[in-house]
Assembly symmetry: D2
Homo-oligomer: 196 residues x 4
């Protein structure tokens, strides 16, 4: 039975969308069954429409289903990719997380593997603290945290965030692709071991 | 000129509403000009209406204005009270914070004093990590963080959270009132010194 | 081949010594091969000798070997128990951790399971932040973090710290024993799955 | 009466020594009375002597007095500069902090301003988490945290760590000097306001 991975992301201008697409592709190539899910946009429609780049990004993602609590129950492992807002994940991610209470209470979120990635405007603008915030939440679920550390040499080339790949806004570059691929395969590997 | 304090809270069942009311009262008694503001509810109407206690709490707070970015610019200091969700502040608070981008960019949030309080279902269910998450965000604004530490003896009676008063759900008890009063007066005092 | 667990602790007055002994016993009962190791005392001899309780505790632990980097390489999983000092682990633990550079560089610390426990003077005196600090460090090693979450009902009785069991100073009570036993068995289980 | 600043640093190869020297100089120019203090080396003599660069750095700092608890009581504000070790401050700093118990208990550490800087081998190798760790500890003392945020334009040039200046190992460059100068003057300013 293939390992089941839910890739959950939120993206305003495309950076984390790009990371999530790559992670989903790599996970499938690694033999996992994958659900790619985006966090629902919670900003008011007029705010989104007021910014062309934001509105276009939202249109670009229309075919990707919105994440549901059931997607979290289904998976053996989670790959999370969300941008930083003032040192923590964007509120769209938190709004989704806050719908998980009933699943958490029923034990349906226990013992899942998780790894996370992020982006921030500045090099040190919350790239580390945002990942820690995601892992703190996952610890409440009883998740098994699978950060990349410096286990693979790519971590000495990609900025070296041991908590998860992180970057500044923009398309995923070659180094980023390698790093996300490594982190994804690591997740699939450990999620398989844990759930097996 | 009196020191200006904005008390920002979110409350689902009343605990942080109670803390905020007490903080606002104490700040006024300490000579501050006070704005009491609640974070807008972002959960869908049908979710709120599906729980009597939640709906009633929302009705109880109808007369309190919703927090706006301008309330953050106006103040010399912030008193924050929000419940924990999986180790970090409830997403209603984060949704409000995510509207502060333009004010932050213009420098309007710089050099404000801040202190925070929280509640969690379990004794150690994120009471410390939630406060740290709020302070991390405030550091992005260039705020001056004013935690209570153990400066006053009340901190050896109230559970001893040096990052800010924290409690489990329910009405604020006598010890809680004293602790919140101490933390509020401390905020008013330092906000005054900083802005003076 | 049995799962290999290194229990690493530091204790000034006995609390974390008690937790570590119980964890070591439970791990053995669960079929693990166990090394119980204490962090070397780094406080000057005259400081220790100046406090009877501290000196006696150090004498009580003389038969327990001091932790070495090799003990970290050997294990499949780590059970850590160290007291809080101002919101983070006691410096004796950090002094030991700082000797792990060469092992980390060689990759010898990668892919180990880890779980942690702590104690603090006050209920909210760093019980959560100290555990987060330990996990942050372990993420640098490429460890797999195995917090208890709320997966077992004991977590709703023991103060509910989802990051790991935590308590105030004193002998481990019955609830604490159950919680430490749960967390230990969980570690042995996942360390086995991960290394298998 | 001039504002009193204690600059406390630890340095293995010189990076944080350079930051501390610059901060001390800027603080003096800003009118503060300054004590420059280094954390005592706690690594065994043979370990230090085994690395030429480490031994030479220690010799270079011999004229700088070792930090004492009294230096912490004396000051109105602290400027901290310590390198990262696995996502938190080097244990030499923690060993010093652990000697502050009696001063903390007497209230002698209350209401001091604090700001911190750090260095790490990798861009995202704990530069953010290390500063948070220092601030968590300072909150226990009842300190007033004065991070730089993005209040000055230099923060959009220096890597943008809103918690404090951070860098990779090496001599302080021009941008670093400006950033440290800004952060130091900010500390002197707020320490003066708070203690005045």
């Amino acid at each position: 039975m293939p390992t089941k991975i839910t890739v959950v992301f939120y993206s305003t201008y495309g950076t984390n969308h790009g990371i999530a697409l790559h992670a989903a592709e790599v996970a499938r190539e690694a033999g996992a069954e994958v659900r790619l899910r985006r966090c629902a946009e919670t900003a008011p429609r007029e705010v989104v429409d007021g910014q062309d780049a934001w509105r276009e990004q939202l249109e670009d993602m229309q075919d990707i289903p919105e994440a549901t609590p059931e997607d979290m129950e289904w998976a053996d492992g989670y790959f999370i990719s969300v941008p930083t807002r003032f040192g923590v994940p964007a509120s769209q991610f938190r709004a989704f997380v806050d719908t998980l209470g009933p699943k958490w209470q029923s034990g349906a979120l226990a013992n899942k593997a998780i790894t996370a990635t992020t982006s921030a405007q500045n090099t040190h603008g919350g790239q580390e603290t945002t990942l820690q915030s995601i892992y703190i939440t996952a610890m409440h679920w009883g998740a098994i945290i699978v950060p990349p550390g410096y286990v693979d040499d790519i971590k000495f080339e990609d900025g070296g965030n041991p908590y998860g790949y992180s970057c500044q806004p923009g398309p995923l570059d070659e180094t980023g692709k390698k790093s996300v691929a490594y982190q994804t395969k690591r997740l699939v590997d450990f999620a398989g071991k844990i759930s097996g």
